[in-house]
Symmetry: D2
Subunit: 236 residues, 4 copies
């Protein structure tokens, strides 16, 4: 259950108050409950300060939202791979549109995280950037058109070609990367559509975190994942 | 004991392995022990991931090393003031030479942290910058010439005029700021010299964290602080 | 005429097409014409690439929009103080809201530019930041609330307290700084209001650059400056 | 002569005083002279402020050292593609180790520059990053291990595997990119070695700019290029 395997949903807590501190724990437990009920992989990405408490409270995979590209040392204010790992995270997002890195930094993070045994989910804003980043051989790439993030207009319905183009371009560079997508996802239908287009998972934030009924919102998404995965993986 | 009052020593854990995870807890406990024995204020600044565990384990003040200048929300990868506060920190460093911010961002952090009831220790690299930052009315300013950080050449001995100039320039702008100093501090003599020059506290990192005997190194510094404070505060 | 003296208007060309290349020259000549006709100081700030051509074509002061805080050397892609000076600029803007710098970088720019004989106009977003930056002793500070830039809602009418607070706070730190203001200025009335509030000049961009009749728009602003200055300086 | 065709040498002027202002013109003329004498392609990359004067004075290709990833508009302090183009540059370096960009910004620059008819030479620090960036389909990639830049230890002799690995990894992603290399190049032998390893050109800075005899230093490099190209291209 701690492993990050497709098909999957990653819930990004960002720094929303609804997913900070005590409420980060509560939301993580809801995610664990839904994952357990429906037998799918749901990972949570709380902010750095909350990783340790969340990771010691739930049995689902916990990701950092960002790590810095440095070795341990004189890097005041940074989030180190070593700390994130020791706190119980199994991996990390990196290069989210709200925390973009330079290409040389992403290269460093991917290499260092891999050496440390952490999974890396590298975010990309366009199919071209996604293909570019796949050459660094992260295990996961998340395509998210930034202009749709938080809008409720699902990338899988509003701009399906972003997903198909991303997969096509990535495949030319690296056939092994697992492609997930995000931006504007709020319903099971959005998730199902994404999987039908070839995505193997979903990155979601406000669609769950800001929902009045967080658990219900997630259950709806997970049901879409199950339907899409049945189609896509023929019998998951 | 949780309060941040001069004369004080702040131990910055940076992302040193010797002060990460389990070892962050161990070092914090050593700091607590020395603070308690000698009756002085010692604060610790672990990296974000370790704040909660440290703050729940010791009774001395815990600071973040950095917080981001944003309200709660869609700020993936950021360290929010709210999370740091809920995790038990009483304040934060900001604008350390290893994590410099823009001036408008420092202004935001100072205002938001103050509103949240967090202490702010703003770092500065030169007397002019220190004076400039004191206009934002943080409670603490830490002057650290970056070229001396980690060298073992104490600012208070190698470049005493940096401390006296800083205090002079700051006093013209803001008489209330508490001025501490750092960079190259490794001995009680260095600390005593700093207090004799007018500093009201010390920011130290490798001098304690990388010492073979962390507790002994800190005790030496604290003894210097006691001697300096006796002189400076006439009987602290 | 090449000197930067209050009361003055600085026209920031940004990277607008209407003020790039050949059109930067044309706009600079219009500014020169209006300055000459009405006997006031109008300075222009073309982008780096256009500084040399503009400075060799007009007799009014030319400013850079930004310079980097480095000495000459291995700084590929930077804009050096030495190049800007040799190209004929008499000074530079720095820390514009569209090109914010870290506080230690602003300190460097102010010192290096002063040593090189260049005027510095440091931009600030709030009265507190303006006061803070005045401690670095630049000759000019430009207060511009970023949320009004390009809106046509003049800071001097919409938020007059920003100007008066800025002047009050700056005066407590540094009585010699010349305070100008900007954001949303599009008419002579806006300029006059700003001078009546105590500003000694105006920073304007789209209000002139994007105007259908650039020369007419500038003439209107300059007339406002003359009226305001007559009131303020009693007979300029 | 204005075209950027391999085999070629690009001389990066950085912000060295020896290649600023009037001296940028002088150095560009030396480059033009050597290029003309020996019949090879030598391009120059002066800093932004000097592009227009250099481009109007010599008939060899002129590159910018950096352009910003924005359309024309409210981008104070930026270097616009449009200005660089109108000033006479035929292309630009981007992502030099001294001016790194985020991956999404590099993607923007490559697309915008291509649309504007500007050549793009994207710099990379490692073979993996070079391969990654080649997926964005720039025409040129320059591999430069930053730790060798300015050392006089030529990448082609000290770390030849960086060049061969880069070419191998890039070819798997994009067979059409022209690969050049740099870092530590100071002699014709260094250049010849680079071409023998498969590079199609050289990026050099201090090796020419800081040489006592700039023209002689460049002539030595160009002779190495001719020898290497004869081997590599069998008769250039």
């Amino acid at each position: 259950m701690k492993e990050l395997e497709p098909p999957l949903i990653i819930v990004n807590f960002k720094t929303y108050l609804e997913a900070t501190g005590r409420r980060a724990l509560e939301l993580a437990r809801k995610c664990e409950k839904v994952a357990s009920e429906l037998g799918v992989s749901v990972a949570v990405a709380p902010q750095a300060v909350d990783i340790a408490a969340v990771a010691s409270s739930v049995s689902i995979p916990v990701l950092a939202q960002h790590v810095d590209p440095y070795p341990p040392g004189a890097y005041t204010g940074s989030i180190s791979i070593e700390a994130v790992k020791e706190a119980g995270a199994v991996g990390t997002l990196v290069n989210h549109s709200e925390k973009r890195l330079r290409i040389d930094e992403i290269d460093e993070v991917v290499k260092r995280a891999r050496d440390a045994g952490l999974e890396v989910v590298v975010c990309a804003n366009t199919p071209e950037v996604a293909a570019s980043l796949s050459a660094l051989r992260p295990r996961f790439i998340a395509i998210e058109p930034p202009e749709l993030i938080g809008t409720g207009k699902a990338v899988s319905k509003t701009r399906p070609e972003v997903i198909t183009d991303t997969i096509k371009l990535i495949r030319q560079v690296n056939p092994e990367v697992i492609v997930i997508c995000g931006a504007g996802i709020t319903s099971g239908e959005d998730v199902e559509a994404a999987l039908n287009l070839g995505a193997q998972g979903i990155l979601v934030a406000s669609g769950v975190v800001k929902a009045k009924d967080q658990e219900g919102a997630l259950r709806d998404l997970v049901n879409g994942l199950v339907r899409g995965a049945r189609f896509r993986f023929r019998g998951v």
